[in-house]
Subunit: 531 residues, 2 copies
């Protein structure tokens, strides 16, 4: 069953090996395992529902608790320390667009606020229940998950927007297709959630971001139904898909989405290349991205992330041999690992990988084959389970990501890492900090940093620690010219930083759009645009 206070299915554990525990003790100090609140305790704290009774709306405390929060670190702190102060007053599970329309009408009549719920994987507070006098209805899209139409000739599939990653891929695979959208949250996140938060998958280099995959759909809004037909392209004024993309529940609920699909690739390969320094690695990966090779993924870890990944992989004869070989080839303490992926027919994959490796060689890249890439692929959706294990050992982990043009990529990495280091130093703690470039473009790259640190042991202290970290790294992102999010969205946590990139006039345009579709402001208030 799905964990109520952590990531994923409670049958799956991804424990820390002893090397990794020693590594963390050495870098940030020994953690003190905290005492978690129990589900029963948390349920007892749930206040009575304020919604008028309605068939199809579940008001059971556990159901409401399980839909109260996402996966951000402040969300975790509330769950783990038993501080869930607000939960929705009810949760509905509509099975059709019509039922969603009825629920919106019911909510309007009950003066209720509405929070759309996809897979519950938001890491920026999209699901938080506002501190408001009105009751709150959460609408889960879980039962809107069917493949509604498959157009083989146009390579289009229409799904209920609540379909989660594995279900979506399974339904397509049965017909020989893939969407190819694989964010780390894939196991639970949904098609509709991807669209309204502008998600990007690990293989977006081949398949595109969700912006490129989303071809049209239906949105139920308080002002009526917005139906967006699918065209290959159009020059007819505003692209209404763009009004839905990144709308984060503020204009309505996406109930159906048509997406561009691709024939399943014959072959998929992920190769690892090591570089002696970050400078060489960054030059190489920029050159590869700008050569526009038909690759599916480029993922470059800095030296600390490389060291962390090798430590997590544990000790093996193969790894020792590889490390020795790399040392002999000049890749030692500062070495950085690049993963290069390609998908397609066998000849195309071989050719694309071959061309990428040729560029890498020009920058002293050392190719070590597919073993590490296979391991990465195997664990691509499991690494996120590490958060559970780290918590049990008394450590918190959080991440932040941005995207920035190439001339500022290196500066961004340093600025974010330094800001985090300083924030922890100010409270007398150390943090284990590392970064990778997760998505490459000809123009620049996304910069994705991870911070592991010791829990303070109380809700208030840990929240303060996180707030200091989050404020420092977000300030650094804005100051260095990055977008406040490349793939996670805005939610509550990033809303204060949005004005820096949209400007007052731009933010005003977003507000006008929300007002048009939701005149009374009942849809997911406080998210995306601060009140």
């Amino acid at each position: 069953m799905r964990r109520w206070n952590g990531w994923g299915d409670d049958a799956i554990d991804f424990p820390l090996n002893e090397d990794m525990r020693a590594f963390l003790r050495d870098r940030v100090g020994a953690g003190t395992p905290p005492t978690d609140a129990t589900l029963a305790q948390a349920c007892r704290a749930v206040a009575p529902s304020r919604l008028p009774p309605q068939r199809g709306i579940d008001t059971a405390p556990e159901v409401r608790l399980r839909h109260a929060l996402g996966q951000s670190l402040p969300d975790w702190l509330k769950l783990r320390y038993g501080k869930v102060d607000r939960v929705p007053d009810g949760v509905a599970f509509p099975e059709s667009g019509e039922q969603v329309r009825e629920l919106l009408a019911y909510a309007k009549q009950a003066s209720a606020l509405v929070i759309p719920y996809g897979g519950g994987t938001s890491v920026v507070g999209h699901l938080s229940v506002p501190d408001a006098a009105q009751p709150v209805l959460t609408i889960s899209l879980a039962r809107l998950s069917r493949l509604l139409d498959l157009d083989r000739q146009a390579q289009l599939a229409t799904f209920g927007a609540g379909v989660a990653g594995p279900d979506l891929e399974a339904q397509l695979r049965a017909h020989g297709y893939t969407l190819g959208h694989f964010p780390q949250s894939f196991e639970y996140s949904t098609l509709g959630g991807w669209v309204v938060t502008r998600s990007s998958g690990q293989q977006s280099l081949r398949y595109g971001r969700i912006e490129q995959l989303f071809a049209g759909g239906k949105v139920e809004t308080p002002s009526g139904t917005l139906a967006i037909p699918s065209f290959p392209a159009s020059a007819a004024g505003t692209d209404l898909r763009e009004v839905v993309l990144g709308s984060e529940g503020r204009i309505g609920i996406l109930t159906e989405a048509t997406v561009r699909i691709t024939s399943l690739p014959q072959r998929e390969a992920f190769h690892a290349v090591f570089f002696p320094t970050w400078a060489a690695a960054e030059d190489a990966v920029r050159s590869i991205a700008q050569a526009r090779l038909p690759l599916s993924m480029l993922r470059l870890s800095n030296s600390i992330e490389t060291l962390t990944m090798l430590t997590m992989a544990g000790k093996s004869r193969l790894l020792s041999l590889m490390q020795a070989y790399l040392g002999w080839r000049g890749c030692r303490g500062q070495k950085c690992m690049l993963l290069v992926g390609a998908s397609g027919d066998a000849a195309g994959v071989a050719s694309a990988i071959g061309q990428a490796l040729e560029v890498a060689r020009r920058f002293h890249g050392v190719h070590v084959g597919e073993a590490i890439g296979k391991k990465w692929k195997h664990n691509r959706f499991r690494n996120v389970y590490l958060r559970n294990a780290l918590w049990q050992h008394g450590y918190a982990v959080d991440t932040v990501e941005t995207a920035v043009d190439w001339p500022r990529v290196g500066a961004m990495m340093h600025a974010v890492e330094q800001a985090a280091r300083d924030a922890f130093a100010a409270c007398g703690e150390r943090a284990h900090i590392y970064t990778h470039l997760s998505h490459m473009y000809a123009q620049g790259a996304s910069v994705y940093s991870t911070f592991a640190y010791r829990l303070a042991g109380s809700y208030e202290a840990d929240l303060a620690r996180w707030q200091a970290l989050k404020g420092a790294v977000c300030d650094a992102i804005v100051a260095t010219g990055g977008t406040i999010s490349h793939q996670h969205g805005v939610g509550i946590d990033h809303a204060p930083y949005l004005a820096a990139e949209k400007g007052t006039l731009g933010l005003g345009a977003m507000r006008e759009l929300c007002r048009h579709f939701d005149p009374s402001g009942m849809m997911n208030p406080g998210k995306l645009l601060a009140a």
Copy 2:
């Protein structure tokens, strides 16, 4: 000097050969060359300016006349028959964003309406002067054409938005780059015009539509300056670039645009392939598009367009030999020509073309080498001069284009052609009608039809003929599920058809955006959104 009442530079003629004249006589009847109004006559008809005098605003009749219209057929009818009933009251040529701001302030104070003017190549009425009591100020961006910044590492260039195609490419070529955006209007159309009308270039398969190339910029609006920073990608709410794209002058004036550029390709090739039937050709081109090969162009002519192009090419020994060879290979009266382009390094081009030809062979495609492709490339921006020559022989020519998913591509071609045929039959005329697919996507294609027919000889009769044609083909597009424009925009001519694809709620959102940036409705009223 630029023609005041036709396409292009008056030093350039692209005459019809005798074969082509005979071909047209045979297909639609002999044309009667009309008598054009003179520039002097047209200037004499220009009414006095209603604008309060202002330094930097030119109110000379000829300047105002030359900025009064675009290149749509109704625009031509007005110019050629001396029926230019409305011209702007003045034309300004600002040299900076600040001067644009001052002009907007001046216009606001004078209660004037503002029409932004790029290259004057609109074919849907973007530049028409509204029939209003207020004076009208046209703001030409011609002097905002400098390369303002070049970021080699991020492959970004920032230009004044008034830069026209050849000037833009020349400035980039000096540094080893290209934008790769080549619409047929390239010679005069501007970067800003491309952005605000969602233009698509002939090699968009490689370089992307202008949506993909436009990375950020500055827009001067009546509500203030909208500055859009450039990021490689972002998940931070609404993408403000999308508010500018397709805005058609309704929210303000784009003064600066940052675009994604590419290193100049080492090699560029265009190969011709003939197919025995449309069905085979369409299957082939869909398969090639869905194979996602790194090509730069796919352009498929139907059999009548193929015949027209071969007739225009005239008689030569090489062409006769080719026709004989094609006949022997099964490509006869119904043959359809596909042009396949690729750009990049020599090996990449050879490989991409090779793979495309391999797919074409599976559908009985016969490859005839590069000669026709070279000829096409040579004339790619000259064919549009044929409009002048046709007019002199008493023929009008107009085009219409849409995009639709693959299952409806063939039906769309037939529906549009039949609608046009019926419209002309109703007035006792024949039209020479042909179609090509101009841009291919995995999802579908753009369908681009051309209509050549005899002039009636009077403004009123020719306008009625055109209105009947335009109404019939636009109705067919909407009824067959296409977008009202794939690359020309909406302007005045397509505005009545917009509701079919945007819906009332979607149109309302577009109106709210316009209102936000332009509360008094002074910017290009009547365009995009009908009053």
